[in-house]
Amino acid sequence: MSDLTALSNSYQNWYRFSRNPTAVIGLIIVVVSILAAILAPHITPYPDHAGAFVDFRNRHQPPSWDHWFGTDNVGRDILTRVIFGLRVSLLLAFVVLIIAVPFGTIMGLLAGYFGGWTEIVIMRLTDIALALPPLIMALAVAAVLEPSLMNAMLAIASLWWTWHTRLVYSMVRQIRALEYVEAAETLGASKFHILFREILPNCVSAIAVKTSLDAGFVILVGASLSFLGLGIQPPTPDLGTMVADGAQGLPDYWWESMLPGVSILFVALGFNLLGDGLRDLFDVEDVR
């Protein structure tokens, strides 16, 4: 019986989600991007162009049937490199969020539930972290450590968790006052049980919305950092670096910077549309 209810609930959710065209577009973009990144060696027209390959006779070719996105300054197919470049962008988003989301969530749970000194220390730490501009912080960390994109993104992750802490904190403040939590406390449930089994499940939808919105932002920040020169080692394709290199050829070779730039836009847009769609979906449920 309960299984049936769950099924019909999720079916209802999907039905409402699928009635929201922008959300569906977002979902399609995200799924296609992820699949394209995973299957890059099999679906790209010139997979060897992602590695050590040069062909100076075919440099700076405008978009054509052979090269849909044209070729770059050493004659590599830009479409191939854009698809491979998605791998780096998505991997970065994954790395940052896999660190920032769980850590930020736990911090938010602790601060919201225990209050007192725990709350003061954690929330003031988030205030400090939020006062630091992430791009500047990333550049500074990369300058001190090895100037690599991964180090810069770890610096981003070290600031990003604070957003999740604040979100979860504000939700926990409301939830902990609810009667079912008091009931669990009265029954002598452990603090661990209350935090992770009673309170956390009620925050998950909000965290999911925030995470999918974040993915788009993190991809943009990663692209900005590699645009500023913190790219990964050539010849590995990376969207931000492609925009920066291509910009040298503007306006004559517009495709070399514009098309990778539009690709970044699409992926970031996809995650944002998906996040907005999820938010609409869950907001409605909350009201109910």
Binding site: A52, V54, F56, N73, V74, P234, P235, Q248, P251
Partner: protein, 523 residues
Amino acid sequence: MGMMMTKRLLATTASLALASALVAGAAAAQTVVTMNTVQIFGTIDPAKISDYTDYMAAVNLYDSLVTVDSSGNLVPQIAESWVVSPDATEVTFKLRSDATFTDGTPILASDVVYSFERLLRINQGPANLFAGVVESGAVTAVDDTTVSFKLSKTFAPFMATVPALMIVNADLVEANKGEDDGQTWLADNVAGSGAYLLDSWDRGSQMVIKRYADYYGGFLDNPIDEVRWIITNDEATVKALAASGELTMSSQFQSPDTYQALVDMGRFRLESQPTTTAFYLKLNTKAAPTDDIHIRRAIAYATDYATIREVIFPGEPMTTVLPAGFADFWNPDVAAPVYDLAKAQEEIALSAYAGQEIPITLGWVAGTQFEEEISLLMQANLESLGFKVTQQPDPWNRITEIAADVATTPNVNQIFFGPTYPSPDSMFFTQFHSAAAGTWASMEWVQDPAVDALIDAARATGDVAEQARLYKEVQATLADQMVAVPLLAQTVQHAMDNCLQGFNAVPMQSFDYDMTRYNWSCP
């Protein structure tokens, strides 16, 4: 009421100013040259200048005893003549009696002595050219217009280094000496005798100099009245400046595409001249795997010279470490390196690393598109031979740091080196002598006593034929050891407005941007 008065007054003043500007404009059309530079001006203090923009400003703001022409000959500037003693250890300069600083005071022998002593005290920039050659106190004023340099030892390239000693106005610097020998004051002010005066300088964006009409050295007809250097290395910005009509002359570091785009605009022509600036792949001879001579030879065989010179970066073929522009000293018997992957494979088979994956790092200047292209070309060829390439782009200031240690120096390094004084000694001593080890110019870590002995012998003799023999032997040795793959001798290129004349490459850093050598050929 008060407001009204002020407004009306302002309006009147403005229209008056406008009118007088129009009158002035009609009286003498100002010739303004706008040029982009790819880096900022670090300093204009002649005791501290080191890179190409520093020298570019200094040669216009200051004069030297002698200067250099496009053939590398010394020509009079403040000095009208000079005499070298028979044993080549004393040089006496006779100054022009009409030479004046830009404040109108005459240039005296005592100013030369002061400029030299100040250079040694501060011990930066060109000071190293004179280290161990001319000691403090060895430059003396014989009379007001005669100055003598006594050398500690015979040093053949001495005369070629004299243009780097720029003369400051001793009285003016003394008056603004402060606590630091006038360094603070000369960082923003000029105390020279050059043909141009500093008009404005915004460190991050531009420098403007204006012609000093009473310059003792005189000008060509239709001289350049004002020079604006705009600092940008962005190709798109250079194209936009050219399209808007603002740019008169590009820097020498634009991409071939940018030159072509400017020429296509119709207003520009491409000036292209061979230089003695060499472009190498410097191989770290003290680190694996480039410590193996066969690996170094394999790299030379795996280099696609024609594509690099013809497609990626313009240049003349180079066969030895010395560009052929040093005609008397260049060794014609050294065979030019060739691109031959089969031979590269044979060399690898002879090496200690045969039959395994060979890891190798390729170093280049981050953000330089043509160097990235060359490095990708090298990677494609080397990986086809079984190398495992790591690309190591670094910013220029980091390259100067990693060059200080064998362990941090990459295996292969793309380095430009041009003579800082018009003598082959500048090419050999600064790059291949043990005394220069640990600098970006000597990332090969040659440290070979036999090479050192040959270079030292060439420095100590005044006999040009003997020097040539010694330098040819150095070239043969270095080519046999393949310490540096000679890629090309840079062809210097500028897109120049059709009306601007006078560019002639000079084998001494930035002396070709002395604006008294230029003029405007259109009405």
